[in-house]
């Protein structure tokens, strides 16, 4: 008998600022919608552990999408996108997420993202608190400079390997080899988008001096960061959470910048605590 996963993949077409995107998403579960954003230069398979975790999907409608230009979500179908350099802005990124949630008719989902997905979670909490039940910024900070590098798409190097091995150290050495190499494998697939994603991550995303305006009574913020994350080290996340009135910080021991794909069983322990805290506040 075939071993089918309960996870279902679908496409939905949305308009974002005049850009037509056919978005691919994976979905499993029922209950409160939990929308998941992958990391920069990657795709939704990073959430494969969560999508098949019955202890969560029994209570949450888990939706993990590919951002446009990633995985199975193509670049805009109504633009000659190959004629301009891709740079992701905070405004377009947020509009994409909101358009997708509206298209799927989600009722105030929880939004969770890691790395550049975590940073946009902070942006959503600040600018669109009534659209989301809560946000879980993973491996995020108010500002994350230093990773908008030409090396990610240098024509004299193998960009797939530069991106994949360039993020290798973002994972903890304790994380299982298989999961670290699968994450490496995913990162060989997104090198053309990686640098443009990091324009948002390291340049356009800058909430310094603005965190006090996040209203966690309308949109609770639960931040989580792994101790092996050198890009957004624990102290950066803790410092960010401290400036958000009512913001919560959870430190994740012995895990890195891609917790959901480098060591899902360990990440799940912390995620369940975050979801419990959200339940208590909503």
């Amino acid at each position: 008998m075939a071993k089918h996963s309960p996870v279902i993949g679908r496409y939905v077409t949305i308009d974002v600022d005049g850009y037509e995107y056919k978005v691919f998403y994976l979905r499993n579960g029922s209950g409160v919608p939990l929308v998941c954003q992958h990391t920069a230069g990657c795709h939704n398979h990073q959430w494969r552990g969560l999508l098949e975790d019955e202890s969560i999907t029994s209570r949450y409608d888990v939706i993990a999408y590919d951002l446009a230009r990633h995985g199975k979500s193509d670049p805009p179908l109504n633009k000659e996108w190959w004629k301009e350099e891709y740079v992701l802005t905070a405004r377009h990124y947020m509009n994409f997420i909101i358009a997708l949630c509206d298209a799927l008719e989600l009722d105030r989902p929880i939004f969770m993202g890691s790395s550049f997905g975590g940073n946009v979670a902070l942006q959503l909490a600040l600018h669109h608190p009534d659209k989301f039940r809560a946000v879980i910024p993973v491996e995020a900070a108010e500002h994350a400079p230093g990773f908008y590098l030409d090396w990610w798409r240098h024509p004299h190097a193998n960009a797939a390997q530069v991106c994949a091995s360039g993020v290798w150290d973002l994972m903890a050495p304790q994380s299982p080899d298989m999961d670290r190499w699968l994450t490496w494998h995913y990162y060989t697939q997104g090198s053309e988008a990686f640098k443009g994603d990091l324009f948002f991550y390291s340049v356009d995303h800058d909430l310094r001096g603005k965190l006090g305006n996040i209203d966690t009574r309308r949109c609770p913020v639960i931040m989580m960061t792994g101790t092996y994350d050198y890009l957004t080290p624990p102290e950066a996340t803790e410092n960010t959470a401290r400036q958000i009135p009512g913001g919560i910080y959870i430190e994740m021991e012995d895990i890195g910048h891609f917790p959901m794909s480098e060591n899902y069983p360990l990440f799940a322990v912390y995620l369940k605590e975050a979801l419990r805290l959200i339940e208590a506040r909503t």
Binding site: G146, W151, H154, H156, A157, N158, Q161, V162, A164, S165, G166, W168, D169, L170, A172, P173, Q174, T227, Y228, Y230, L231, P233
Partner: protein, 129 residues
């Protein structure tokens, strides 16, 4: 007791040459790099995935493509079986600790997959400082 740099060179070369992860993509893995460990320096010459030679007494004009420079204490942290956070790789240590990456970094990027695997062999082999 600190192992001699000559013993280290033998152990490192053997470990690298028999590493299956490097072996799986060995072809074209070619570069020459300096590891400056403060009290000890080595130049490792890799050709098509095999350690061709290790210069354990580099002289001022000996050539290499790129260099990693850090304190002996940092190299000892690199060599722990499970390094502490921020000592677990060249990116982390250059962003958050005293590791400096110098020279023709393009060559390092061209060989990054295998160079990263090779660097982590220090966790098994140790360091001569």
């Amino acid at each position: 007791m600190v192992m001699s740099v000559r013993d280290w060179a033998v152990r490192f070369g053997e470990a690298s040459d028999r590493d299956p992860t490097i072996g799986a993509m060995a072809r074209y893995f070619t570069c020459r790099y300096l590891w400056d460990m403060g009290t000890q320096k080595v130049i490792v010459d890799v050709r098509d995935g095999k350690v061709h030679s290790i210069n354990t007494e580099p002289q001022p004009l000996d050539a290499y493509d790129f260099a990693l420079r850090a304190s002996p204490a940092t190299w000892r942290e690199f060599a722990k079986p499970v390094p502490e956070p921020m000592y677990h790789g060249i990116w982390s240590a250059s962003f958050r600790r005293d590791l400096k990456i110098e020279g023709n970094i393009l060559v390092m990027m061209q060989n990054l997959r295998n160079f990263t695997v090779q660097f982590e062999l220090l966790r098994k082999v140790g360091v001569p400082v």
